[in-house]
């Protein structure tokens, strides 16, 4: 750009480093807290460098936890996040295919019905959605954790946008060659959508992993808790002192999977984010 050298250059780096430190500081403290013993934390100020209790604290969290083993909560979160990501992608790509490549009665109506759900989070209709899940006997179940959260339209819109840019000639050629719609869908459209699907998967995985209110309501059995909501359940009620090292170890464990997904899939993630603008 215009000013490349001189004092401005170093000031730019300094500003960015300050931003990075601001972002990292809470995580660093959580990590330090997860490696020291309880007495070191309850007598402030806590140390700012890691201690020697790393293995003890993480083993305690993973194997026994406070209400349920954190390993179990991690597995629940993984099932929920993958279920939401795959479920949303499957139902969305099918309905986007129907809307873009067919003319059928009610098409406009269905399109608008899907559109209405575009930005509406489950938090808004929380009580009646809970009642529906309870009536279907979905409390404390994976279906209950997953299905209500895949009812929204963002992915459908992304696929619709993408299908619009696919040249008509491809479908015509497929038809001339005698391929039916499903053949065209499976052999041509799906392979072309691979990057879109992967990008969406990253975003939806994080969305599912980070859910809080919904799992808080529908999982009452600690064995079904997800890790993100499970952390809050680890705080004792009343005046008892919280087991901070184990809670902080759990917080770190709760961050690792989505952070790995974001960093390792950075390109896809950014593309998916900017494409879907959500």
């Amino acid at each position: 750009m215009v000013e490349k050298r001189g004092a401005g250059h170093w000031l730019t780096h300094a500003g960015l480093i300050l931003g990075v430190l601001f972002i990292f500081f809470p995580i660093w403290l959580a990590f330090v807290a997860s490696t020291v013993s309880q007495p070191e934390i309850v007598h402030p100020p806590m140390p700012l460098l890691p201690g020697d209790q790393f293995l003890e604290n993480y083993a305690k969290a993973l194997v026994s936890g406070i209400n349920a083993p954190v390993a179990r909560m991690l597995a629940n979160s993984a099932v929920m996040a993958i279920g939401i990501a795959l479920g949303k992608i499957v139902i969305s790509i099918l309905s986007a295919f129907a809307i873009v490549y067919f003319r059928f009665p009610g098409r406009k109506l269905f399109f608008w019905l899907i559109f209405v759900t575009l930005m509406l989070p489950v938090e808004v209709r929380i009580v009646p959605t809970y009642e529906v899940a309870a009536r279907f006997d979905m409390l404390n179940s994976y279906q209950g954790l997953i299905l209500p959260l895949i009812a929204s339209a963002t992915a459908t819109f992304l696929f619709r946008q993408f299908f619009m840019t696919v040249p008509d000639e491809l479908a015509e050629a497929a038809r001339v060659d005698g391929a039916g719609p499903m053949r065209f869908f499976v052999d041509i459209l799906l392979p072309m959508s691979r990057t879109n699907m992967a990008a969406l998967f990253v975003i939806l995985f994080i969305y599912g992993w980070n859910q809080y209110l919904w799992p808080l309501l529908i999982t009452t059995d600690p064995e079904m808790n997800t890790i993100v909501m499970g952390i809050k359940q680890m705080f004792p009620s009343g005046d008892d002192i919280a087991d901070w090292p184990v809670i902080m170890a759990t917080s770190i464990l709760a961050m690792i999977p989505p952070v790995i997904v974001v960093i390792s899939m950075q390109k896809l993630f950014i593309r998916g984010l900017v494409d879907s603008e959500k």
Binding site: P44, F97, Y101, V124, I126, V127, L147, I231, V262
Partner: protein, 293 residues
């Protein structure tokens, strides 16, 4: 834009769209309808019968000082979260955009808080500011400042705002950086040759060209502050002290699940539905307009 009709058939497309319609009907339209329906009734104390009250729940809500206070709290909270997270993100994006080498490294370092759940962010910040063990609380105490967000509503608000904005900076940063990098260098260089300094260029060229991004982020961040910050509020303050951090979404939960006041909770859901509806229309209009840019 419409595609030419490509495939024939009626049953196949209906079958393809059926899974999404089924899930949307069961978990979206039915509950949303229930919310509207329940908002017109008051259940008796034993939950055995419902009494029709028309718009009574809404009238009651709008005259309830706690609900009005919650509206104001939400407005303050979402304004602050949006300003803080967008302001810091724009600042960092402008800096990163000035670097030709190294901006990728900073991007990687700044990107990942996006992956941290708001509820986990809440726990981290609550830990730092904990009244008993918090590191920052302790250092503030050394400086003579007695931090206690459990009792002080203003401090509680400040804490939930920072915790909510913290996780959001990376998202806004990505969009601002993408927006900045799409501005043609030649325009900026031409202005620099004409003698325009950094601030003049930013005010007259960069910021106006960035306005579609800014507007989009404004809408998305308001939606975030309204709904996705539930986890932050629930973990740090649970709406307190004295409802000073009870935003609208928290109140729907508190009245509906904790207070079991279903009529009021349903009426609040309907009001929120209208708010999101308005925001969606706003965003969609913007998205449509951007196509013509």
């Amino acid at each position: 834009m419409e595609k030419r009709v490509i495939f024939k058939g009626v049953w196949l497309p209906l079958l393809l769209i059926a899974p999404q319609m089924l899930i949307t009907a069961v978990f979206f339209f039915y509950p949303a309808g229930q919310a509207v329906w329940q908002s017109l009734f008051i259940p008796d104390p034993f939950g055995l019968s419902m009494q029709y009250v028309g718009l009574g729940n809404f009238e009651y809500l709008l005259s309830d000082p706690y609900y009005r206070a919650s509206f104001l709290t939400t407005a303050i909270f979402s304004t602050l979260v949006t300003l803080v997270s967008m302001g810091l993100a724009l600042y960092l994006a402008v800096l990163a955009d000035r670097l030709i080498k190294g901006s990728g490294t900073y991007r990687t370092l700044l990107i990942w808080p996006y992956a941290v759940a708001p509820a986990v962010a809440g726990v981290l910040w609550m830990f730092m500011f904990n009244t008993r063990v918090g590191v920052i609380t302790w250092y503030l105490g050394q400086l003579g400042y007695d931090w206690n967000h459990v009792l002080n509503g203003t401090e509680a608000m400040g804490l939930v705002v920072i915790a909510s904005a913290w996780g959001r900076i990376s998202y806004n940063f990505l969009f601002f950086l993408a927006g900045l990098q799409s501005i043609p260098r030649s325009v900026i260089e031409a202005a620099a040759i004409d003698g325009a300094g950094f601030w003049t260029r930013f005010r007259t060229i960069v910021f106006p060209l960035l306005s579609p991004t800014t507007f989009f982020l404004l809408v998305v961040n308001i939606v975030y502050a309204f709904f996705e910050t539930f986890g932050v509020i629930h973990t740090i303050t649970a709406g307190g002290p004295q409802q000073s951090t009870t935003i609208l979404v928290y109140k729907v939960y508190a009245d509906g699940f904790v207070g079991q006041d279903l009529g009021s909770s349903a009426a609040q859901s309907v009001i929120l539905l209208l708010v999101v509806g308005a925001l969606t229309v706003l965003q969609f209009k913007y998205v449509e307009r951007k196509v013509h840019y």
